[in-house]
Amino acid sequence: MLELHQLSVNIGAQSLVQDLSLQLLPGQLHVIIGPNGTGKTSLLRTLFGELPLQSGDIRFNQKSRSDMPISQWRQLFGYMPQNTQSDLELSVLEVVVLGRLARLKLRLSDEDLQAALSALAELGITHLADRPMYSLSGGQRQMVLFAQVLLREPKMMMLDEPVSALDLQHQLQLMEHLHAKTRANDWVTIVVLHDLNLAAQFADQLIVLADGKLQAFGHPREVLDAELISRLYQVPVELYHDREGLPYIRTVRRASQTV
């Protein structure tokens, strides 16, 4: 269990996250949503130990972040930041293998390569293993980078807008894998998404952030409502429900333009 206790994060004079308390459970997929610039990425970076805590505490399974060396803390995470360069003259296999950086010797062992291959196989992309990274499509690259994180054998998985550049097929594929792996490996999974509908479809728990504060927390069915979304994003929205009773959201155009 990952516990955030009255967390505050500043960069310079700017407050990014204020007084945030949350309990995140293993085997659950948590989705962070919120308008741009509300500290979603900063929150992930703080959890990873990249940004210093202003106040508060982060605990994983009762152990506080400040109680262990930062490298050991980071080893608990699989973390996919935004903006990874992937236009590289490296083979897919060579990129995936970097996921177990801590264990690599100068000569790649067969075991390293086999581990990378099974990660690729889990995602169904073994056929890409020999391709150079620069020759892949955006969706394929993202799957390769996901395979790289799998190799870290993390306890917690954090993905920062992993699907924003992907088409529908790849979006669904990546989210389904993430969901299945979260259940299978008992990860505490945290994903930042901009697509509210994707969030509603996949989230076990929705974390709604705005202005660095927690606005709502809970299952999408309980949390998502038109009034909240309209208020946070400053646009009129309508909320519908699909066949399974999950909410989905559409923005409403201004009246003058819809005529």
Partner: protein, 351 residues
């Protein structure tokens, strides 16, 4: 079962890729050996090739004069070309990796300009005080080169400083030290000025066994230390954020690599003067041949730098037989058209 067979095939192909990279390293070693031999047999004294080869391999029976030329001048110079080329190639590839910019090199970040100013200052000071020591110039060059580098270290240590800021600061340093150098040249006497200009051209002819030994040891130690971070440096190619997420301590890696690169290139530049371009072009050639895997890119960039400088050294002696062109000029005049041809070729391949 089918899976296992497919996996095995992938592993085999990965091993083939690695073997091919080894081949490139071997080919470069052979080319370097050839170039070095050429380097030793050519020279302003126009000794017959057979005499030189004889003196080189059977020094006991060689004519003393030939032996002295080969062992006291040509051999150290030829070796120095390799060591300095390797240091510049290595320095270039690590600056490019670290700062994630294909334009980074010891020259573009102002280290060479600072060394030039330091050397000129040492020349001016030693003539003013009437004390001239052989080591004043390299020491002056080294001190200023490291001074420029430490400004960059300071930036690298600060929070929220990204690679682009470091590059901009490097370019600013380049201009600063060039202006300071011009100022020195402006106020010094014509004779002194000529000495400064001559140093700035870059030359391997000043090499002694001592300076060769120092440069070789520093380069070797730094290269080994850099090589141990090969995997971390490969991670860095995915971007700093990603490398951090993979568990690389970015700040430590940055400062360690910068210190090693600065030490290595400053030492090399201090003894031979300003030789630009090798540090820029060698890493690009290496990357085109074997890609981004630093386990191979580090040695190949070093070998490539060594080969380039060694070939430049041969050319600098062969343009006009019996005369000697400053090698710093040769590297750029020969190198630039070659480099442009290379990058245009690569553009086609990627498109």
């Amino acid at each position: 079962m089918l899976n296992a067979a497919a996996h095995e095939a992938v592993v085999v192909r990965q091993r083939q890729r690695e073997a091919r990279r080894w081949q490139f390293l071997m080919i470069f070693i052979v080319l370097i050996a050839c170039s070095m031999l050429f380097d030793i047999v050519t020279g302003p004294s126009l000794l017959p090739v057979s005499d030189v080869v004889h003196a080189l391999f059977q020094p006991g029976t060689a004519e003393p004069m030939t032996k002295t030329i080969v062992y006291e001048m040509r051999l150290p110079v030829a070796l120095m070309a390799l060591v300095v080329g390797a240091a510049l190639g290595l320095g270039g590839v690590q600056m490019q990796t670290l700062l994630d910019n294909p334009l980074a090199s010891p020259f573009t970040l102002g280290l060479a300009a600072a060394a030039g100013f330091g050397a000129a200052l040492a020349l001016v000071a030693s003539s003013a005080f009437g004390i001239f020591s052989l080591f004043a110039i390299p020491v002056g060059a080294f001190i200023f080169s490291m001074l420029a580098a430490s400004l960059l270290f300071g930036l690298a240590l600060m929070r929220h400083i990204n690679s682009q800021t470091i590059i901009l600061a490097g370019i600013a340093l380049l201009f600063l030290f060039q202006s300071l150098l011009s100022l020195l040249q402006f106020i010094s006497s014509p004779e002194l000025n000529q000495q400064i200009v001559f140093w700035l051209f870059g030359s391997l002819m000043r090499t002694t066994w001592d300076s060769l030994l120092i440069t070789a040891v520093v380069t070797l130690v730094c290269a080994v230390l850099l090589y141990r971070d090969a995997w971390k440096l490969t991670c860095l190619r995915l971007g700093e954020a990603r490398a951090l997420s993979l568990g690389v301590n970015i700040n430590r890696l940055r400062i360690k690599t910068l210190v090693l690169v600065a030490l290595m290139t400053s030492t090399a530049i201090s003894f031979v003067g300003v030789i630009g371009f090798i540090g820029l072009v060698a890493p690009h050639i290496g990357r085109m041949l074997i890609g981004e895997d630093q386990r191979y890119l580090i040695p190949l960039s070093a070998l490539c730098g060594a080969l380039l400088l060694s070939v430049s050294s041969v050319i600098s002696k062969s343009i006009i037989p019996g005369a000697l062109f400053p090698i710093g000029i040769v590297t750029a005049i020969i190198g630039v058209p070659f480099f442009i041809w290379l990058i245009l070729g690569r553009g086609r391949k990627h498109a």
